[in-house]
């Protein structure tokens, strides 16, 4: 396909993709514009002057209700924990499902059920179970578990898509060449599925970072960021929320740019090494 010339289809689909991205960023434009509201401005149009007041407020001042810093830290840590656990557990389970094993059917349907049970009820159920067993719910224990019931089905099903028609001949060949199962996995399977694993991790992090209902009854004493923001909406809310949105977006874009540069530099270095 590489030799092929870009056809009409390419341009039509590029336009389609650009529209899709614009659609995804639609609400972000309002967030972006309104985060520059004047000091007396609200969360809706019309603009009431323009300033960087809300960014200063976000970074240096205490809110009337709630605390962004603590909640953000908890959400970030929880997101990372969930990300790692999701990648590892769903990869293992994905490998398991490539062979037949006793109980694979029930386990599969259980995973699907995990996706279906309404999040508020899972939340309530886990909260109650912790109470019954005399455990104290906390964001790093009960909420972590609650998030996993959400991210694992995603992770596993994506692994299904990844291993779907995964050509066993790669592994066969490796084994024929004398590789152990571990070597086969590490040097043959893993490199092929690595981009998908990154995808699963990203999914896991995003789902956890933004999860609301499943955390509601499982967070224990302290709030994660989505809960904190929701709690803040029970009092006067200010464009500081939008400032947070803008900062998050700019920050994640910056990380991506840095990562891209890092990849490019590494590639160059490797290429030089090979050449030299």
């Amino acid at each position: 396909m590489n030799s092929e010339k870009r056809g009409l289809g390419f341009y039509v689909l590029t336009a389609f993709f650009v529209l899709f991205v614009l659609f995804l960023y639609g609400p972000l434009t309002t967030i972006f514009i309104l985060s520059f509201q004047g000091p007396n401005g609200g969360l809706t149009f019309p603009m009431n002057g323009s300033s960087v007041h809300w960014f200063k407020n976000l970074l240096f001042e205490q809110q009337a209700v709630g605390d962004f810093g603590g909640a953000f830290t908890r959400s970030l840590l929880l997101g990372l924990m969930t990300m790692v656990a999701t990648v590892v557990v769903s990869l293992l389970a994905g490998l398991a499902f490539r062979r037949r094993f006793l109980g694979s059917g029930p386990l599969f349907y259980l995973t699907i059920a995990s996706l279906i049970v309404p999040s508020i009820l899972i939340s309530l159920g886990i909260g109650l179970a912790f109470q019954v067993f005399g455990l104290n719910p906390a964001w790093y224990s009960s909420a972590f578990g609650a998030h996993l019931t959400w991210t694992l089905p995603f992770g596993l099903l994506i692994m299904f898509a990844v291993f779907n028609r995964f050509n066993p001949s790669y592994e066969e060949a490796a084994r024929d060449l004398g590789a152990t199962s571990w070597q086969t996995f590490a040097h043959v399977v893993l490199p092929i599925i690595l981009p998908s694993l990154v995808g699963v991790g990203l999914f896991g992090f995003t789902l956890s970072y933004d999860e609301f209902a499943r955390t509601l009854m499982t967070a224990g004493t302290f709030n994660t960021l989505p809960l904190e923001i929701y709690g803040m909406t029970t009092n006067v809310t200010t464009p500081v929320l939008y400032a947070l949105g803008t900062v998050t977006t700019v920050f994640s874009m910056a990380i991506i740019v840095v990562a891209l540069i890092a990849i490019a530099v590494l590639r160059k270095r490797r290429a030089r090494k090979v050449a030299g």
């Binding site: 809706t44 209700v65 912790f130 004493t221 302290f222 809960l227 904190e228 009092n235 006067v236 809310t237």
Partner: protein, 428 residues
């Protein structure tokens, strides 16, 4: 949500002395002498759940400074507060819940009643919360009035007492009387009654609350005002009365009268500020928030009276020993005036008015509580100008507003049926 304030090297005793001297808080004196013996060696942390309405960081800071108690506040929406109190007894020490849901929360047995003998300002609490009557002559309003769920029979009882006992369920924090907020620039007609929200001119530009126990009371006020029905007791409707009310709501909804139903404070502000609605059920500080953005908004008193609500602090069942003492200390401090003044300045009302008055300027007091024109600019607790010279509070004085309460938010005996019908209304 955690608010950790450090005393920055100053010993607590010094700080307290300073604070007491500066504030001239006669009330605080007892607290100060009692405190160091208990907590000199043993720092106390209390975890409090509540909505953002009263779970304010400034209160935690002041509490740390005055008492040395670290107050870890977690703000949630009102639904989540009641769920957590019922299902997670150990995750909190103090819960700030609303009176109507207290009817369901307290019997779950995760809270302990408070001994009024240990509540220093018990006798000064506004009588709405004890006898139910603002003045000895007033009539108790319909609905789940705070006095009906304010006391239990004994220290271990879960049964609400008919009249005040020694055991109080909640210590009132804030309460208020609600009506409609309107956009005077967009309604273009005088608004006098609850039924005015049904004016076809406002089609697609109105809103009421989407919390069943509160929304049904808004609906009841509207229905009665429009002459649709006369309730025996709108705070405790019969099935037939619920049917009539919901059927009327469904008819109104299908006719396109409502733009949206709101659930959180912030939604009501956004609906109003963005011009999506021009008349809606609203809270006083929400009206102030709209106005602070330079958008005209009025809190409109109505002839039929107000729908009132209130919240209070409850103590977790598991509290004992030093923590329990600290909780009582905190509650006594809460009632001792600084917090009361803070809440009053937002447009809510606080439980003990006499102590709050001492923490407000005479002009502030006259404006917020007596309904008199402001002699100087009225500032919010954060120091922003809320009202300019000459402004008068919508609805007038405390007595005029709280004296004209027609009903409280309520949990009815037919609650189960009501929620089913409410879901039908939302689904229609």
């Amino acid at each position: 949500m955690t608010k950790k304030t450090t005393s920055k090297g100053v010993s607590r005793r010094q700080l307290l002395k300073g604070a007491a001297a500066a504030g001239g808080l006669a009330a605080g004196a007892g607290v100060v002498t009692g405190f160091p013996t208990i907590w000199a060696q043993n720092p106390i942390t209390l975890r409090q759940f509540g909505t953002g309405v009263s779970n304010i960081n400034a209160i935690a800071e002041k509490c740390k400074a005055d008492l040395g108690i670290t107050l870890q506040m977690t703000a949630l929406d009102s639904d989540a507060v009641s769920q957590r109190v019922v299902t997670q007894a150990n995750s909190f020490d103090i819960a700030d819940i609303e009176y109507w849901i207290c009817k369901k929360v307290f019997p779950a047995g995760t809270l302990q009643p408070m001994d009024v003998k240990k509540i220093k300002y018990y006798d000064d609490i506004v009588p709405i919360f004890t006898t139910g009557k603002l003045t000895p002559e007033s009539k108790i309003a319909q609905g789940t009035a705070p006095n009906t769920v304010g006391f239990v029979e004994g220290p271990d009882s879960k049964t609400f007492a008919k009249s005040p006992t020694q055991w109080m369920t909640l210590i009132p924090t804030i309460y208020n009387a609600d009506t409609f907020g309107i956009r005077p620039d967009l309604v273009g007609r005088p608004i006098k009654n609850w039924k005015d929200i049904l004016d076809p001119a406002f089609k697609g530009k109105t809103s009421i609350l989407n919390i069943p126990s509160i929304g049904i009371m808004d609906a009841a006020m509207i229905c009665e005002s429009a002459g649709v029905i006369k309730y025996g007791d709108k705070g405790n409707m019969t099935k037939a009365e619920i049917d009539t009310t919901i059927d009327f709501l469904i008819k109104t909804k299908k006719a396109g009268q409502f733009r949206a139903f709101w659930k959180t404070f912030d939604e009501s502000v956004n609906l109003m500020a963005s011009g999506e609605v021009v008349i809606q059920s609203m809270w006083s500080p929400a009206v102030a928030a709209v106005r602070s953005k330079g958008i005209p908004c009025v809190y409109q008193p109505l002839e039929e009276g107000y729908r009132a609500w209130g919240g209070g602090l409850g103590m977790a069942k598991h509290l004992k020993g030093a923590q329990l003492d600290a909780a009582y200390e905190y509650i006594n401090w809460y009632l001792s005036g600084w917090v009361g003044a803070y809440l009053n300045r937002q447009g809510y009302y606080s439980a003990v008015l006499s102590t709050a008055e001492k923490n407000m300027t005479p002009d502030e007091w006259a404006f917020w509580m007596l309904g008199q024109p402001a002699k100087a600019d009225i500032l919010s607790p954060e120091g922003k100008v809320m009202y300019t010279v000459g402004a008068v509070r919508d609805g007038g004085s405390f007595k005029e507003r709280m004296g004209a309460v027609a009903c409280w938010n309520s949990v009815m005996d037919e609650d189960r049926y009501m929620v089913r019908r409410w879901n039908e209304f939302i689904a229609a």
